[in-house]
Amino acid sequence: MQYPKALEDLISEFMKYPGVGRKTAERYAMFSVIDLKNESINDFSQALISAKEKIRPCNICHHLTDKETCDICSDGTRDNSKIMVLETTKDVFSIEKSGTYRGLYHVLNGALSPLNGIGPNELNLVSLWKRLEKDDVKEVILATSATQEGEATAQYIKRVLREVEVLVTRIGYGVPVGSNLEYADDQTLNKAIENRRVF
């Protein structure tokens, strides 16, 4: 049996989402047309459109924001002597949620991986070098993942920063943290930041 075309179209839209397979997409589509009120559908589509329109990378740290400069970068109470370098904007949320870090961030938007077509020019590196020229940054905390790609990225940044007068540290990945920030709980994240070492 085939779904009516409009329903089939909706299913294929849901299937574009990560982790959503055919079955889940069917459930979402059914839920949308049967359970959701017209009003909610309107809110949903409006939310999608306005998020896409308004959300963009911060002009300083590349974290996602609905302003020119993100709330973290424009928060005068943050410790601007520290910049933590992360692979993704999701990582910023993880660290922020864990709650103790009060410095600034820099989101690279990936990690160096020739196999994935990501070289130094594909990452937000030039803007990082620029920030280190003018800001009074004393420490760069490398919090890229503990994968081969994350390590290569950390090593690469460390090499470039040899010529810059700044302390370079790497967060303390241990067995409990695993290789990815996304899956660590708050306490282990705080430990990892606390246990950072000169790199």
Partner: protein, 351 residues
């Protein structure tokens, strides 16, 4: 099918499926086929191939199953899918002699590396993950070299970083291979007389592409690597030489001598596994007897009976074999892909 200790003969004409049976055990042990593609295991007009067995290893029972389909492989232990190959391999230990193994001595270095990798991996799962890690960084580096057509300092710096990672990943692989070959030579020494009463001896030499100062050597080869767009030095270019009485077997050994050398090496590997893991591996011998003379057949069967390992041997018939050696063996017949046990065999078969 149930197999116990001791020698099991699988008898069938060519094309009846006796090699498939041996291969299924091989796949179950190593999570891959010894043919170039795993997909050849899938029967015509079917979607996937599945092999299952319950094995007794280290006094524990494990249900192993391997499912191979066009979309990939699934290695399962006790109904749980294993994410890492290194967590799967090692539950069913094997030593195998396959017709393909005749190429090891004179074939390409790749075949020799593969042969030894299989045994090093079965004896130490760290080796599997170290080698996997090395191969992954190697892929990254080769991909980078392919993309480096215009000189720029960013790519050069990244090449430096990845080269350091590669050297770091190479070190444990080289150390492991070096130590393994030293040890296997000791076990080989004890097996010299398995087939030969002459004063023959065998030795294997490890020929690492880079032995020491790996990072320094790799960095000194940038020009070559950039010109050829690939990594020319490292464990992926290692090789091994086989010596027969101080001459290189590659150049001098006859077909028969190669066969005895490889079989002796297989039994040395079985002894090494016994030493490491406290039990013998399952010994798989595909069509090995047709090329051995009476005396050698006899010696091999005597040795296998003595060690009480589980051995599974395919052959086209038992008539050619030395009948005195066939006491206490189990016999199975294969025809059209089906396998059946012969109720009684030999003069004093145990039931």
């Amino acid at each position: 099918m149930e197999f116990g200790q001791g020698i099991h003969f699988i008898i069938g004409s060519n094309g009846e499926g006796k090699t498939n049976f041996l291969e299924s055990i091989y796949v179950l042990a190593l999570a891959k086929s010894y043919k170039t593609s795993d997909l050849v295991l899938i029967r015509h007009q079917e979607d996937f191939a599945k092999v299952e067995a319950t094995v007794l290893s280290q006094s524990r029972l494990f249900d192993l199953s391997m499912i191979i389909s066009a979309s990939g492989k699934n290695a399962i232990i006790n109904k749980t899918s294993q994410k890492k190959l290194s967590d799967y391999i090692g539950h069913l230990q094997i030593v195998s002699f396959l017709p393909e193994d005749m190429n090891i001595i004179k074939g390409s270095p790749r075949e020799r590396r593969y042969f030894f990798d299989v045994y090093m991996g079965q004896m130490d799962k760290n080796y599997i993950s170290n080698l996997g890690n090395y191969k992954y960084v190697l892929k990254q580096r080769n991909e980078l070299l392919k993309k480096m057509n215009q000189p720029n300092k960013e790519d050069d710096l990244l090449l430096d970083v990845i080269t350091e990672q590669l050297a770091e990943a190479a070190r444990p692989v080289v150390e492991h291979r070096k130590k393994f070959i030293q040890e296997i030579n000791l076990f080989l020494e004890k097996q010299y007389h398995l087939f030969s009463s002459k004063n023959e001896y065998y030795r294997i030499q490890y020929l690492p592409s880079i032995e020491t100062e790996i990072e320094k050597v790799m960095k000194s080869k940038y020009r070559t690597d950039k010109m050829s767009y690939t990594t020319n030095f490292g464990p992926h270019r290692d090789d091994y030489d086989f010596y027969l009485n101080d001459v290189m077997a590659k150049d001098y050994a006859s077909g028969g001598e190669q066969r005895t050398l490889i079989l002796t090496l297989d039994m040395a590997l079985a002894e090494m596994m016994k030493d490491r893991l406290k039990e013998y591996p399952v010994i798989l011998l595909d069509d090995v007897f047709s090329e051995l003379d009476y005396e050698k057949q006899n010696k091999l069967i005597q040795y296998l009976s003595k060690i009480q390992a589980q051995a599974i041997i395919t052959t086209t018939s038992l008539h050619e074999l030395n009948q005195d050696a066939l006491n206490n063996v189990k016999v199975f017949h294969v025809s059209k892909g089906h396998i059946q046990e012969e109720k009684q065999h030999g003069k004093s078969s145990k039931v």
